[in-house]
Each structure stands twice: as structure tokens, then as C-alpha cells.
Symmetry: C2
Subunit: 499 residues, 2 copies
């Protein structure tokens, strides 16, 4: 196929792909925000048909030819088309080997899995979910074998979510991290904890919503292109640099839950909102990988949002909205409570210090599962054993244990490690940023624009054009290392807990 034709095929495919992606994102947003509870039947029929059509589009031989023509002629293709073709070759190689009937069956399995998992979680009933997990793991292994014969299926899964990673990569990263985390968590456990009971009294939702609007402004989130909704589990959905949605969840007796959800999702949103608009509607739109995306949500949530500078800025605004609840408390109390660290059961509610331990537990479990060292049946007991061993806590039931996360029900094995890796990426990036900017002063003044611009220049605007493994080295001028994250945690929590 000649290059002009190949470019036309690519352009046309990416537009169509965008339309289906847009439709499915909007349907998903509706489902999780405002749809009435018993409406899944029609939605699942519609999504089944739309995703089947998407699979047909991606399976086209003409597209495959076009992608290969561009990949094989880098110079003639030009760097933008070449990168688009390269990214597409990576994802099409995985999907086009799956026959349509198997693809449809898998979609139905996922739809069933989501439904069964929700019910199983509510009832804390692992047994009902177990056979589904069995099938999901089998299918993942089967798909991995189709696309990457002979490779380890868990390596395939890890690489799928973060290009260039593998068991070897994560084993090295996590073992280094554990050396810091395990003793540090033990010391914090033994230290005196701040009394945060005043942050667990009723904080009216209407006032919490006003706080969300203050945070939208504080983090430069442009309301012309970004709106906030409410869902059980907060998330960010972006369909272009001009249309990004974030969600949060308000708990009356946990105002900080929504505060840090808004800042976290706002970080994801600012990434998407600042990708070069020229990449909109192509595969170059959006963030460059799961870990790099998470590096940015965690950057804003933790390194900015949980810093003493930011909590000091937030405190008078928080007090003004909640004068009774905060009576007699100080900015110092607020900072210490925001950063209260202690082992807990639920990953999504975990503090900054213990968070990565939740990830490590999941990584180790998935690795053993894919290696056949444990069976699906043994997941709950393995889960409970590792929570006891690494975090010293007893898991009272599977709802708060092995059933807590939705990821497995979505077929996402190998996804969790990106959460921790991203946090470590941004710890290293922060050290470089501090050489260029007076980070503390900017955060203290809520002057976020220079920070946002710095990140936009180096990461956001490039969208998917850059490769995830290049991000940290290109910014920091040295290879990625876990030490910055470990040092940051050691420094911060040693001071907080007078260790």
C-alpha cells in the first residue's frame, strides 16, 4: 500500500475509533452518574453491538496493511504518522488475533463478571465470583498465548498496561520499595496518632460541593472543558483535550475523601486537558501510559495537595465552610490529620504511606496466580495472609478483602502495579522540578500555573507521542529509580511522627 493511501486509511480509522470510544465513554459516564439502577439490560445490548463494531473496525486487513506500511517507512510516514502507526500496531497485534466470536464471548463474560462481582461484593460472597475469575484468568492466558506465543502471560499483562515492564522490572522496584516501607510502617504504627475524630462528624454535602468548586479553581481546572459529577467510585473520563469529566463521592462524615478525590482526578484531568489539541481524535490523544497518568494524579494529590504548604492554604477556606466542625483546631492539626498514616483494609482509602503496600500485595497475588503457585480458590486466604504479614491487620470479610476492587471483574490483571510505579515516577520528577521552580512558594500561594506549565511542556502536551519509559529519563537526565519515592516517604513521615 502506498503511503498516501495508508495515511488516509489511518485517518479514517482513528476518527471512527474515536466516535465509538466517545459513545462508549458517554454511556459509561451516564451509567455511573445518573442512570436509574435497573437499566443495565438495554445498555449491555447497546455496548455489545458498539464494541463488536469496534472490534470489526480494528480487525480490518486494510488497516493492518496501512499500519505496517507506515511502520516500515518511518521517513516517508513522518514522525506523527509513524508514532500513530506504531501505537496501533501494538494494540492491533493483540486484538486482531482474537476471532470475533471469541471476542464477543469475552465481552459477554466481562459484562456478567461486572454484575456478579457487584452482587458478590455486597454479599461478601467470594464463592459466587470464584468461577468467573477462573474463566477470566484462563481467557487472559489464552489471549496472551494467541498474540505472544511462548511468552509468560503475566509479563504480557504487565507490558500491556505499562510498556516495557515485566515481572523482573517490578520485582526489582517493589523489593527496593519494601525495604523502606516495611520498617517505616512499623515505626509509624508504634508512634502516637493525631486525633482526627473532628473530621468524622457531619460535614453537610452542600458545603462539601462548594469546596469542590474552590478546588476546581485552585487547580486551574477549566470549567468550559471540564465538569464534575458524582459516582460511587471517583474516576476521570477524557475524550479529547476539550472534553474531560471528573467524578467524586461525598461522604457526610469524611470531607477529606472528596477533597483528595477531586485533587487526584483533577490531576488526571489537567493531563488530558493539556495534550496538544492537534492530537485530538487520534491515538496520540490522552496520557501516554497508565503509570505516567497515575504519576500526575498522585503528583497533584500527594506532593501538592498533602503538602504543608497546600493544607495551610486550604485551612482558612475549609474553616470558613465548616466553622463549627473545625472550632478550636489549628492548621497544624489539619496537616497532621490529612497525613494520618495507619494500616487499613481498603486500598482506595489508604494513606500515602501505606498505599503501595496494598499494591504490592495485589502484585504478588497476581504473579502467584498466573504462575500456578496458587489457585483461584486460594485467593481469599492468600489475600488475608499477606494483609496480616505486610500490614499487620486481620481481614474480617471478603467484601473488605479480596472482593474490594473492581479490576479483576474487568479482566484487568497486571494493572495495579502502575498505581505505585506512577507515584514513584512523580517523586523523581518532583526533585527535578524543584531545581527549576520554587515549588514550596508556588504551592503556598496557590500559584499552580507555573507548575502546570512545567509539566505540560515536559509531559502533558506530548500525549501518547512519547514513550512511557522515556518520560522520567528525559526529564530527570537519569534512569528511573525508586529511591526518590522512598526518601520522600521516609523524610515526610519521620517528621510527621517524630521518628
Amino acid at each position: 500500500m502506498d503511503i498516501t493511501k495508508a495515511k488516509e486509511v489511518l485517518d479514517s480509522f482513528e476518527r471512527e475509533r474515536y466516535a465509538y470510544f466517545y459513545a462508549m465513554s458517554t454511556i459509561e459516564l451516564d451509567a455511573t452518574t445518573v442512570a436509574p439502577p435497573e437499566t443495565q439490560e438495554g445498555r449491555s445490548i447497546a455496548l455489545g453491538i458498539l464494541s463488536k463494531r469496534m472490534h470489526e473496525l480494528t480487525s480490518s486487513d486494510e488497516l493492518w496493511e496501512a499500519v505496517n506500511a507506515l511502520c516500515d517507512n518511518e521517513k516517508e510516514a513522518g514522525e506523527i504518522y509513524f508514532r500513530r502507526a506504531e501505537l496501533l500496531r501494538r494494540s492491533l497485534a493483540d486484538s486482531r488475533v482474537v476471532p470475533t466470536d471469541e471476542y464477543v464471548a469475552y465481552s459477554q463474560l466481562l459484562s456478567q463478571a461486572s454484575y456478579v462481582w457487584h452482587k458478590a461484593k455486597l454479599a461478601s460472597d467470594w464463592a459466587s465470583f470464584e468461577p468467573i475469575v477462573e474463566k477470566l484468568v484462563e481467557t487472559q492466558k489464552h489471549f496472551a498465548e494467541l498474540a505472544h506465543p511462548g511468552e509468560d502471560p503475566f509479563d504480557v499483562a504487565l507490558d500491556k498496561y505499562e510498556e516495557g515492564t515485566s515481572r523482573e522490572y517490578y520485582d526489582a522496584y517493589f523489593s527496593e520499595l519494601k525495604e523502606t516501607l516495611i520498617p517505616l510502617i512499623a515505626k509509624v504504627r508504634a508512634a502516637e496518632q493525631p486525633d482526627d475524630s473532628w473530621l468524622h462528624v457531619p460535614y453537610p454535602i452542600e458545603q462539601q460541593k462548594k469546596l469542590s468548586q474552590i478546588l476546581m479553581d485552585a487547580f486551574c481546572l477549566d470549567r468550559n472543558h471540564c465538569a464534575i459529577g458524582e459516582t460511587e467510585h471517583p474516576f476521570t473520563g477524557g475524550t479529547s483535550s476539550k472534553d474531560v469529566r471528573i467524578t467524586t463521592h461525598y461522604y457526610e462524615d469524611m470531607p477529606l475523601a472528596s477533597v483528595y478525590s477531586v485533587i487526584h482526578e483533577g490531576g488526571h484531568a489537567n493531563y488530558e486537558l493539556h495534550v496538544d489539541p492537534a492530537y485530538d481524535y487520534t491515538v496520540l490523544a490522552g496520557g501516554c501510559s497508565m503509570a505516567v497518568h497515575e504519576s500526575q494524579s498522585r503528583f497533584w494529590e500527594n506532593y501538592v495537595g498533602r503538602s504543608r504548604e497546600f493544607t495551610d492554604w486550604l485551612w482558612p477556606r475549609f474553616r470558613e465552610l465548616f466553622p463549627e466542625q473545625t472550632a478550636g483546631k489549628t492548621a497544624d492539626d489539619f496537616y497532621r490529620c490529612v497525613n494520618k498514616a495507619q494500616p487499613s483494609l481498603i486500598r482506595t482509602e489508604a494513606d500515602e504511606l501505606t498505599y503501595s503496600m496494598h499494591v504490592i500485595i495485589r502484585y504478588e497475588i497476581e504473579k502467584m496466580l498466573f504462575a500456578g503457585e496458587i489457585t483461584v480458590k486460594q485467593l481469599p486466604e492468600t489475600w488475608n495472609r499477606l494483609y496480616k504479614e505486610y500490614l499487620g491487620i486481620d481481614v474480617p470479610n471478603d467484601r473488605q478483602g479480596v472482593l474490594q476492587d473492581s479490576h479483576w471483574s474487568g479482566g484487568s490483571f497486571g494493572y495495579f502495579p502502575t498505581y505505585s510505579l506512577g507515584t514513584a515516577y512523580s517523586a523523581q520528577i518532583l526533585q527535578t522540578m524543584k531545581k527549576d521552580l520554587d515549588f514550596s512558594a508556588l504551592v503556598a500561594a496557590d500559584d499552580m500555573k507555573p507548575i502546570l506549565d512545567w509539566l505540560t511542556e515536559r509531559i502533558y502536551r506530548h500525549g501518547h507521542f512519547i514513550k512511557p519509559g522515556d518520560v522520567v529519563p528525559s526529564i530527570c537526565g537519569e534512569p528511573f529509580s525508586a529511591k526518590y519515592y522512598a526518601e520522600y516517604l521516609t523524610d515526610k513521615f519521620s517528621k510527621l511522627y517524630n521518628l
Copy 2:
């Protein structure tokens, strides 16, 4: 094509059609409720691609063959497949004669029209919208000529929105109605008006939202399958009998606006929610025509919601939510203010008595326009002249005049008359219902279930299986007549205004 194959083709097409309809409905709902303001670019690209795909699906020769095979073999097809094929033949006959490039160009024109109209309305700038209306009318005439050569294009338009109607049909209906309306409105104009200034003070939105929830219950709207949102212009969107959304708009100084929007849209919603679930995802789902649908929204809004029995039921609940605003007022004041009738500029805010005059003005204008008796340029002056002649009021600007409705920008000429026709349908249906049910006692007790069941049995459950022109005759045992509607208005407003 053999009948078994034809049925398969139909089944498969209707499911696919449903998926695209579902996607586009959800995108539209998002756009009008929660999407940030400057997000139209991506949405319009996505909708363009999805609707082009929908047009390709409907243009398939195999589908056309299947539809004809079923229509030509009624007995073998069976009544359900026959009706589905019959309905599809009617709509495909219109769409498949339009070449894809003309269809795409028209879609783009509509997208542009909507954008230009919104801006023109805000600026009260008819001149900017005029050339678009010119093109829209030309295209409508051209499409009508393609599908129905030799027929009058306005007759084609009227029949498209309400099967079996024509200029002749509506001329007869509206001339009968005008005989009652014009003198009755004149008498009401001369009568003393109730003072409703107490209904135009601040009524907090949060309390108005609580009232919406009371109304959802009062009209048996099932929250498992029906949710309420907020939009500038209230509407109902239904994608199956299990998933219907209504919207309302809250004005702080007009609590009744949202009350009657919720009841009106709730009427549309109850219709959709009670269609036989066996028809879901086929062309038999949803209401059977525009006028029949409107007959039901108006039935609940006017004949139930604005009745003395219902306002008496609502009054203590209204007072409880708004004790200060309603201090010193009585149930009688409330009833009279709810039904205050006077000529006004805006159709969507018009009272029950003058509403049909707004429709008649639009009908007469569209008829003259399509007949070439006036030009597009003359629309504003014609509009203003008729508002003066029929309602005795001066139109101060085009924003509150000829630019007020979105219909023309959506290419909908010939749609308005269904609003009035539906209201007349339900006046006649009400008279029959009253022979079977103690309507007054049921409404007074907010015992809506028997009324809903009565309508479900005769109308709702049949969805699109029944023909719109058969609805009134089959229920009432006589042809449709405008006299019930005219008598109802004469009786109600003579009493209210002591005429």
C-alpha cells in the same frame, strides 16, 4: 427472500439500530444536562460518524428486500413482524432515496443550524439565521420530492410527524378550534385576573427539587427505571420500557414552571415505561406517534395536574415546603393561579387556554411558507402580524418571537400541529375514561394507578404496534372530533373567570 431469512435480517437490523439510537440518545442527554459548555467539537464529530453509520444500515438493499418480503406476506410474517416491517418500510422509503453524500451534507447543515440558531436567538438576530432557514426549507422540499414525487411537500411533512394528517386534516381541525378559542380568549382577556405575584417571589431551588420527588411519587414514576435531570428545555428521552429519563428546569421565581414540566414529562415517561417489554429494542418500542405521545403528556399535565382535585391534593404539600411564600393564601387562590390564562409571547410558557393559538400561528406560517405565499425573509413580520391578530399582543423582538423555538433549526417543519392535536385527542379520551372510572375521586386521592392502568391497557402497552389514527376511534367508539377539547376549555375557563 424467504420469510425466515427476512425475519433474521429485521431482527439484526433493529438491534443495531437500537444500539446507535441508544448511543445518540445518551450523548444528547449528556450534552444537555452535564457536559461542559465548550465541548461541541468532539461531540459533533462523533455524532456525524454514528449517524452516517446509521444511514448506511438503513440504506442496505438486503434490509429493503427483507422489509418488502414481510410486508408482501402478511400471513406468513405474523402480525408483529408485519407491523415492524410496515413501519420500517414507511421510514426507509424516506431515507433510502437520499444519497449518502446528501445525507451527510444535511447532517452538517443541521449541526450548523442548531449552532447559528442558538446564537441568533441570544442576540435576537434573525438575519443571521435567515439563510439557514432558506436552505433547510429547500432541502425539506427536495427530500419530499425524492420520496414522494408530485405530492405537496408540506403534506409530506405533516404526514411524517403524524401519519394520516395533511393540510386538509389540520385546516378542518384548527378552523373548528379557532371558532371556540378566539371569542373565549377575548372574554378571558376582559375578565378580572387573579393576583399571582406571590408565585413570583423566591422559592429556593433545593425545596423545588424536593417537590419534584413528591411529584415522581404522585404520578407513580418508578425510580428504578426513570431518573430526573436538569436542562434548559425540559424533555423526555426513552430508550426502552426499562430506561426513561425526564428533565426539568428550575426557576427560582417560578415554582410552577418545574411542577408542570415534571408532570408533563412524567406523562411522556409513563407512556414509554408501560410499553410491552417484548417490544423493547425493536421499532415497536416507544409511543405510536408525536400527537399520541403529546396526548399523554398533556393528559397528565392539564386534565389531571391542573384540575381542582389535583391542585387541592398538592396545596398542603406545597405549603409545607414553602410556608412563608404561601402565607395567607388558600387552595382556591392556588387553583386560580395555576390556571391563570392570558395571551403571552412564549409558547412553552403559555397557559392551557391560549396554548393552541401559538400552534395555530406556527401552522399557518409554515403552510404559507411551503406554498410560497410568503418568503423566509417575511417570517418575522408574518409572525408578529399573527400574534397581534390572534392573541392581541405586540412582539417586542425576534428572540421572543420568530426565533423562540428550536424546531426549525432541527429541520422540523410540520411538527408543531401535533402538540395541539394530541391535547384534543386526550380531551376526547378523557370523556370515555370518565364512563369507566370515578376520575375526580381518583385524582382527589392521588390514586393514579387505576388511571395509569386504564391508559396502559388501551394505549401504552401497544407501543408502536397500533396506528395513531386508530387510537381515538378504538377507545372512544367514534371518530376524532375537536369538540371535546373545545367544550372542555369553554367549561373550565367560563367557570374560572365567571364568564
